[in-house]
């Protein structure tokens, strides 16, 4: 039998690209629409929940009025109810998205899909949009339905309504993009469900925050929450696209924590090349060979790590510039009277009193060093769990204070340059570079999750970032901090007293 051979209709590449995403998305949607286990809760939550909320609002209004004669409770409660009516159906999107890849993998239907000429981005988009669309439509219908059953005079103003719709969209996107990442990185639906807490817990906290904000009537804060959701979405979508990898999806069969492999990987990234000004280390006199380890570390490896970390270093420097600006802004807003800055009354006693303040470190080299090491280690820890952002914010805090204080000092009639040169710079010239380098490496620890280095998995990228952090922290940061602590403890106070004390 002769099979027909028909030519593929030529189409512009981008049209085909979009159409392929569309077909993938539409197939997924059709699949959801045929699954009563998805449809039933969506319909129920969309159509019955608004009635329930309406009843609750009415009951609370009456009860508050009867008990305390409180009026206007509804105006505060309604936006909150609206928020819940929108959120409950979109929570289904989490379940759908968690299943997106790992569910197909379990049902063995993923491989034929991965064998099609679709790019990773097309697969990611098709699946993500499909998981988002149905619950989002249900959420919007739920909101519309709730508004319909409310008396006209009780309906919220258009701006509040817009905020609530945008918040609903933002949360749905965060949940779906987070869940798609989980789904593409796990090997079973069970594992994906367990990891879903990383999406559910922050969402729960966010809902609580939104509820409090709405009950307190602080609608302005909702814009900040929206901004936060926007940033989180950009990060999660970028992370999802970077981490989405058909090879990983298909190649990984079991989620096993193999400590020996982890240690081997860490070691591979931790060790550095012995080097001695181009001479083969083995040809050096035996007594000098140890030097090649140190020259290799300081003259080859540390510069390499810094070059590898240049985007993070740039980000930290920009953050510091931002911190100076924030300090300046705050100084304008919260200007102190000149008598609050009695620099000419600084005595040795002032430094002793400063040490007595519980949250400040003891002004001894060891006390200062301990405090700085603790802060930068904390920055690494926080950076890991916040895509690097909290590490940068932690370093911004003291810079904001310095900028604020410098402005106040200037307005109080002192020379700001002298202030900076005496109070900050003696130890700052050592401490600040150390803090910038450590923070940049801490930022890398978190940023690796969003953008692992090319050719590396997230795990390997993170191991490299950790090895770089440990190496440079021990070899460069701690020695610099130790020197800075000694200077801060002995030289800075003496200099301050010499310049300012009468």
């Amino acid at each position: 039998m002769e099979m027909s051979r028909l030519e593929v209709v030529p189409r512009p590449v981008w049209t085909l690209w979009v159409q392929q995403v569309w077909h993938l998305m539409w197939r997924e949607l059709r699949d959801y629409l045929r699954d009563w286990r998805i449809l039933f809760p969506i319909f129920t939550l969309t159509l019955l929940f608004p009635f329930l909320m309406r009843f609750v609002t009415g009951y609370l209004e009456a009860s508050f009025y009867e008990r305390w004669g409180a009026e206007g409770v509804t105006s505060r409660l309604l936006p909150l109810m609206l928020l819940l009516v929108g959120f409950v159906p979109i929570s289904i999107s989490l379940v759908i998205a968690l299943e997106a890849f790992v569910g197909e993998k379990e049902r063995m239907s993923l491989e034929p899909l991965l064998a099609t000429p679709l790019s990773d981005l097309q697969l990611y988009l098709g699946k993500t949009v499909a998981a988002l669309l149905l619950p989002l439509m249900a959420g919007t219908v739920g909101i519309a339905f709730y508004l319909l059953i409310l008396p006209v005079e009780a309906r919220p103003d258009p701006m509040t309504l817009l905020q609530i719709i945008l918040l609903t969209l933002g949360k749905a996107l965060v949940m779906v993009s987070g869940a798609v990442i989980i789904s593409s990185q796990t090997t079973s639906v069970r594992a994906a469900n367990l990891l879903a807490s990383f999406v559910i817990i922050p969402m729960t906290l966010l809902i609580q925050q939104e509820s409090l904000t709405l009950l307190q009537g602080g609608k302005q804060v909702l814009w900040y929450i929206l901004l936060f959701l926007l940033v989180a979405n950009v990060m999660l979508v970028r992370m999802g696209i970077r981490l989405f990898n058909r090879e990983e999806l298909l190649g990984r069969e079991i989620d096993e924590l193999n400590l020996r492999n982890v240690w081997r990987m860490f070691r591979r990234h931790f060790v550095w090349e012995r080097w001695f000004f181009g001479r083969p280390p083995d040809r050096l006199p035996r007594s000098l060979r140890w030097m090649s380890t140190w020259t290799g570390l300081y003259l080859r490896e540390v510069p390499r790590v810094l070059v590898r970390s240049y985007p993070a270093l740039a980000l930290v420097l920009v953050s510091l510039a931002g911190a100076v600006w924030v300090g300046w802004e705050m100084a304008i807003r919260y200007r102190l009277p000149a008598e609050y800055i009695p620099l000419d009354q600084v005595t040795e006693e002032t430094f002793r009193q400063a040490s007595a303040i519980s949250w400040l470190p003891a002004l001894t080299p060891w006390g200062i060093l301990q405090n700085n090491i603790r802060s930068l280690t904390l920055a690494a820890l926080l950076g890991t769990f916040s895509f690097g952002s909290l590490a940068a914010i932690l370093l911004m805090a003291p810079i904001v204070i310095i900028a604020y204080a410098t402005c106040q000092v200037a307005w109080a009639g002192y020379d700001p340059l002298t202030f900076v040169l005496t109070f900050v710079m003696p130890h700052g010239v050592l401490e600040l570079p150390a803090a910038i380098i450590a923070t940049a490496l801490a930022v890398r620890l978190g940023a690796t999750f969003i953008a692992p280095p090319r050719g590396m998995t997230v795990g390997e990228g993170w191991m490299q970032a950790l090895a770089d952090f440990v190496k440079v922290f021990v070899a460069v940061v701690i020695p610099l901090l130790a020197l800075a602590a000694a200077v801060e403890s002995f030289l800075t106070p003496a200099l301050v007293l010499a310049v300012y004390a009468r």
Partner: protein, 303 residues
């Protein structure tokens, strides 16, 4: 055409495929045989540009899997180890979906899908939900999915598994006709009879390495020695034995049959027959003792 050079795939410390060199020309079928876990599926996934090689390269229909994976996927029809179907979809809907992903317009897609379904004697599959299909139907539908975009290269993992003998024959015939259309075909199978029936060449893979490669006849000769011939006589073998032994070593003997190994059957067999005729010993049959691919396979796999 499929060409690989030192194709290697490692997963952390485990080497799944180790330096495979293969060439399959258009119009040829290569059967890839090997025990479970030998690296067949990983090889196929690399050829389909789903997995990237750790070392080496694979060029499929002129495209390098690493440099142009999307073009490779467009050229390849992949039948996966598991059919991997969407059970809630209807057969026609499913094929249309995959056809559209390959850039086919709906009419072409439908026409080709229906033609293939007719050819596999399952036209009713178009309007039936896949969840209701038998195992064999599911396998055939997955095969149609792989053929829908008319690919020049076919990678078929266990194409007739779960099929009844009639369906299996239909599929084998289809594979042979696809070969006649000068498509390049690689078949992974555990069914050695089938491999022998359809394959022009056979590659046996063990622990990620190709340990034997050649036509079925070449492999048999290489691994089991020269062909074994059986001579059946209408009389006792007493007179025939020394005549046969003059030309070839006699291995076994019965009351009226003799088995000998013929290094060059085309020269030895006529000579033996001539000698027997001259000695007036009546010959009933002279034939090659069938040697199965299974024997070759077991010899290779068991080392």
């Amino acid at each position: 055409m499929i060409q690989t050079e030192n194709l290697t795939k490692r997963f952390n410390d485990f080497t799944a495929v180790n330096g495979i060199n293969l060439t399959v020309r258009p119009g040829r079928i290569l059967a890839l045989l090997g025990p479970n876990g030998a690296g067949k599926t990983t090889t196929v996934r690399m050829l389909a540009a789903i997995l990237m090689p750790t070392e080496g390269r694979a060029v499929i229909a002129g495209y390098d899997t690493r440099q142009d994976p999307i073009a490779v996927r467009r050229q390849v029809g992949l039948l996966t180890e598991q059919p991997g179907l969407y059970l809630r979809m209807y057969g026609g809907e499913y094929l249309e979906f995959f056809g559209r992903l390959y850039g086919l317009d709906p009419e072409t897609c439908q026409q080709r899908a229906r033609e293939w379904l007719d050819r596999f004697v399952m036209p009713e599959a178009w309007g039936r939900r896949i969840g209701e299909y038998s195992k064999g139907m599911r396998q055939k539908l997955a095969l149609v999915r792989a053929l829908l975009h008319d690919p020049p290269v076919l990678l078929l993992d266990e194409p007739t598994s779960a099929m009844d003998p009639h369906s299996a024959k239909l599929v084998r015939d289809a594979i042979l006709s696809l070969r006649d259309e000068r498509r390049t075909i690689l078949v992974c199978t555990h069914n050695l009879t089938e491999a022998e029936l359809i394959a022009d060449e056979i590659a046996i893979i063990r622990r990620g390495q190709i340990v034997a490669l050649g036509t079925p006849a070449e492999l048999k000769r290489q691994l089991l020695g020269p062909p074994l011939m059986e001579l059946r006589l209408a009389a006792s073998t007493d007179g025939a034995r020394p005549l046969v032994a003059r030309w070839a070593p006699v291995l076994e003997e019965g009351p009226n049959w003799i088995r000998y190994r013929a290094e060059t059957p085309e020269a030895v067999n006529p000579a033996i027959l001539r000698s027997l005729a001259e000695a007036d010993i009546p010959v009933v049959t002279l034939s090659e003792v069938p040697r199965s691919l299974e024997a070759v396979y077991l010899r290779v796999v068991e080392g």
